[in-house]
Symmetry: C2
């Protein structure tokens, strides 16, 4: 059986992947009188009198909504709420299996930004955190921004999960090749959700005293080439990025941008580059070709020139995969009673992930299903949440 047949079979036989489970017994009338009426009324009254105790007496302290509008699902595009379900259920399963978090899919049949924002605010009482997922850029930026102060951690994983894992990969890759992050010139292809968030984290906006604050130069490219201040076809969010990247305001194509670069980060379309194109990069080039399913350049081709090559795929070495970040990040945020996930917490997560392996050029990141990673990331994130004072 091929992958498609196996995946369809697994989903059909199990009717999806997620179920609910009772944490308490309901066998006798006495059980029922505690779990449900009349005893439950006492718990309701306690929460009504002391709203914060909802975290003590309900599932809220351990629950996360995986919220999407189905507008940018994997590489499949705008396939809508129903068709996004397998991804969101899968994500909830990973939350449970890796971090013992009770996550539930909320797939929204509506792609109006304000309605999505309101919906998330309205269902927030049930959840300890919100994982936004597969919402198309630039809409995802506004939606996340408007939800950052609702009192529970909200994170758009396509942005920040990716940013954390790429930073972790970069910490270890530079260690292997003996470069410093602050000396790097980094070129991105892709200025959507992932590209923007990775660039912002590497520039450490709003963060003091961190490992990455002095990245020397970042150039973002989109399908039309280098993003520079003054380019006329930029949307609001790319305009903002044009002000904080590309310090020499270079113009041109992706290939122009690669000249003298140390790192290439691809988070858009695949099959773009050849080994020849990489020859203009600096010695010991680092290539993270993360387009899915086809990377920007295949690893065997990239390795003709580059020293370290990573992709998003599990069938090549150096897989750069969000699953290394989100379970531990939310576990740590929930454990610390954090009200948000700030950049310091993201960087702490990246450093924790990086610390899980002694890196070599073929092994810059730990194994995706390693529960030790979740534990380390959660501890680091929780510690940083407390240090930066974002806990309730």
């Amino acid at each position: 059986m091929n992958l498609k047949e196996e995946a369809l079979k697994l989903h059909k036989e199990n009717k999806g992947k997620l179920a609910t489970k009772s944490k308490v017994e309901v066998k006798t009338k006495e059980d029922l009188s505690l779990v449900y009426t009349p005893g439950v009324a006492e718990v309701c009254k306690e929460i009504a009198a002391n709203p914060k105790s909802v975290y003590d007496y309900t599932m809220k302290a351990n629950s996360v909504a995986v919220v999407t509008d189905g507008s940018a699902v994997l590489g499949l595009g705008n396939i809508g709420a129903e068709a996004s379900m397998p991804v969101m259920e899968g994500k909830c399963v990973l939350f449970k299996e890796l971090a013992d978090i009770d996550a539930f899919p909320i797939c929204i049949k509506n792609q109006n930004d304000d309605e999505i924002i309101n919906l998330v605010k309205n269902i927030a009482p049930v959840f300890g955190g919100i994982n936004l997922e597969d919402i198309k850029a630039p809409r995802c930026f506004k939606i996340e921004e408007e939800l950052l102060n609702i009192g529970i951690p909200v994170m758009h994983d396509d942005q920040h999960g990716t940013a954390i894992v790429v930073l972790a990969a970069l910490i270890n890759a530079t260690k292997v090749v003996g470069k410093k992050i602050e000396d790097l010139k980094i070129v991105f292809n892709g200025a959507g959700a992932a590209g923007t968030a990775v660039a912002k984290l590497l520039l450490c906006l709003d963060v003091d005293q961190t490992i990455c604050r002095k990245v020397k130069e970042i150039i973002l490219c989109d399908s039309k080439g280098i993003i520079y201040d003054g380019r006329e076809d930029l949307n609001e969010f790319k305009q903002r990025m044009s002000k904080i990247t590309n310090p020499n305001n270079k113009e041109g194509t992706l290939k122009d941008a690669l000249e003298g670069a140390d790192v290439f980060i691809g988070v858009s379309k695949g099959d773009l580059l050849t080994a020849d194109d990489l020859k203009v990069m600096n010695k010991d080039a680092i290539i993270f070709a993360m387009a899915n399913p086809v990377p920007e350049i295949m690893p065997d081709e990239a390795e003709k020139v580059a020293t370290i090559v990573g992709t998003g795929r599990s069938d090549f070495k150096n897989q750069i995969n969000n699953s290394l970040a989100f379970p531990g990040v939310f576990r740590g945020a929930l454990d610390a009673k954090a009200t948000k996930i700030n950049n310091e917490m993201k960087i702490a997560a990246a450093e924790a992930i990086a610390s899980c392996v002694e890196p070599t050029k073929d092994n810059i990141l730990p194994y995706t299903l390693d529960k030790n990673v979740v534990t380390k990331v959660a501890e680091a994130v929780a510690k940083m949440a407390k240090e930066t004072g974002v806990c309730r």
Copy 2:
């Protein structure tokens, strides 16, 4: 330890009552490639191409949202979304334990009808059914009405769950005292969600050829007395009820209404009646005093005059409790792939519940946690859904 202390302890020790659970293993990279990327993309594409297959490949076929705005929680009133959580989680636990349905609480921090309606429509892709819960009358009527045609079964349990169980109780109570439902004169105290729905089901609006269609006379009372056509302080929904009940357009108090009545159904405030008040009722009176936690009249007092007495409480005989209905009703609706829950299905559920016991005056209904009830109700509801042609 008293009930309050025990209930608080149970909820605190378990941090609520509901959790999620994976139905599939995620131990190896191969598992991950089927449950999540890249295999999951094939399942997404299948659903995008054939939207109905969302029922085959995801949890939707077995999931129910328990939706509230916290506006009328138990007898506690408008305590809001957070404080309603223990009830909604409890309900989800009962769905799971009694009917193996994966239910999840959606507690909405918003009491605007249109926003609630939109929200439910927007999250519907995830769910195979919607259980509306503890939404205040008359708002619950409009909200439910607007959701009846969204393609999945929607039921406001405070209305229809109560109606089903009361009808079941009445079928067996009349059997015990040797009266026919069609000859009964029934007086209600309470014309909110429960009272209205019970009355409507007993009048069998829109239903042909059923056991209950000829109930002779129903009189509804609210806190101001008998509801009659022309009473000036009636809201839209009570006005509608005034046209279809009280055929002689009687005016007066609850006590006036009881004259010559066979059945009293209390679904509002407790501690209203004495044995003396019941003396004007017909012989072999049936009293369902379901106000919680204090019944309209205590059973020992009522039994001085009445033949059959039921309450909503588990510590008295003849408990009339929604838990007998909703698990089997939704199980049957999901199993039959029903797109709605019509009156015929509700009546079939009531008859199935009634059929689970050989009734005596002290035992008109089966035990709340009897799984046999769920099975019988589910079968009857599914059969009726198919017969009435409301399946997808």
